[in-house]
Amino acid sequence: MSFEGDPARSVRKRWFVSRFVLVPCALVLIAVLWNAWVFTHNHGVVAGRVVDAAGAPVEGAEVKLWVFNFTTFVEQASTKTRSDGSFEFAKNPSHNIQLSAEKLGVGRSRIPVRLYFQSEDIVLKRPLQLSSADADNK
């Protein structure tokens, strides 16, 4: 039986490729893909580096993770930088955080970090740069 000879099948096929089916299907597909991406990238890892005003890595700087808690940022965790100035937090629960770094004699820095979903794994593209001017301001 040819397709052209079956009007019911033709109507069904036209319905399946209509905008009333294609648009919701596309939206569902986007939602599924987005959720798959979220579930594979939500371990709460926040990594980055701390450098001084000249751009050299700072070892032993205290880095704090601040999490937005309804009205204000509260301290969630802290760690020290390694010899190459890198640091890493493992269990960030939020999507709206701030990172602060401080070392006596070098300076301090604090930056806001916005994430696309809670506990998103992120490696900071730009390092936290410690400066004494920032320390004076705070």
């Binding site: 905008r19 648009v23 999507h95 709206n96 916005r114 696309y116 979903f117």
Partner: protein
Amino acid sequence: MVRHQRSWPIHLALLIVCLVMLVPFYWVLKTSISGENIFSYPPNIIPRAPHPFYYVDVWYAIPFARYFLNSVVVSVLTIVANVVLNAMAGYSLTQSFPGKRVVLMLFLSCMMIPFQATIIPAYLITGKLGLLDSYLGLALPMFSTIICIFVFKASFDAVPRSLIDAARVDGLSEGRIIWKVMMPLAKSAVATNVILSFIWSWNNFMWPLIATRSQDMQTLPLGLARFISYQEDTTGALYAFCIMVLAPGILLFLLAQKEFVQGLTTGATKG
């Protein structure tokens, strides 16, 4: 060619009117990605440093997914009930029966009664049925709307009488005539019913406020009110919330706008 030359001022005027009408939508969208306060001076037409994080804030500030699901379930129930019940009511109004004029007058007069005036009886009836704080109870008062009944009636009136008579001769029952003969010819009326009932149900604030008791049964408009009540400095997030609430209705309208306009104008040019 001459006709085209003459029509461009009209098109220009229409374009300007369209732009003016779209400004509030653009402003909401712009604020939702920039967070710029509406009172800031000088106002910026182009958003500065746009970002999507206000949408993320809204998603996590309240149980948005739950409210969205509630709104979808209530809207789907309302749409299905409206299409089925209004089609049956509209078909019956195309037939001749004793007291038809009285029924028509009753329908038209009932259109003048605002919903607020019927809230207490609606609440009592829903309570007696044990449907308070349930999806069915949230959708029940919107199961049929008189305007949509008249949309179906106008559409069914345009169907030739001989077609219905032929269906009766072929042995179809009245129910099957509605679903097999009339409904396929009234797609625009169905689209109009779907869009109108969806928008009324989706935007309904008063009835869900009264009929829900638990937070889990609240719909998006209630979520918006709750969001405003406990969030400070919400300019960007508030507008993002508005966009998230508006988007499904706009999408549905854009999908079915051709049928919607046809449905509203059915019968307007008859004769």
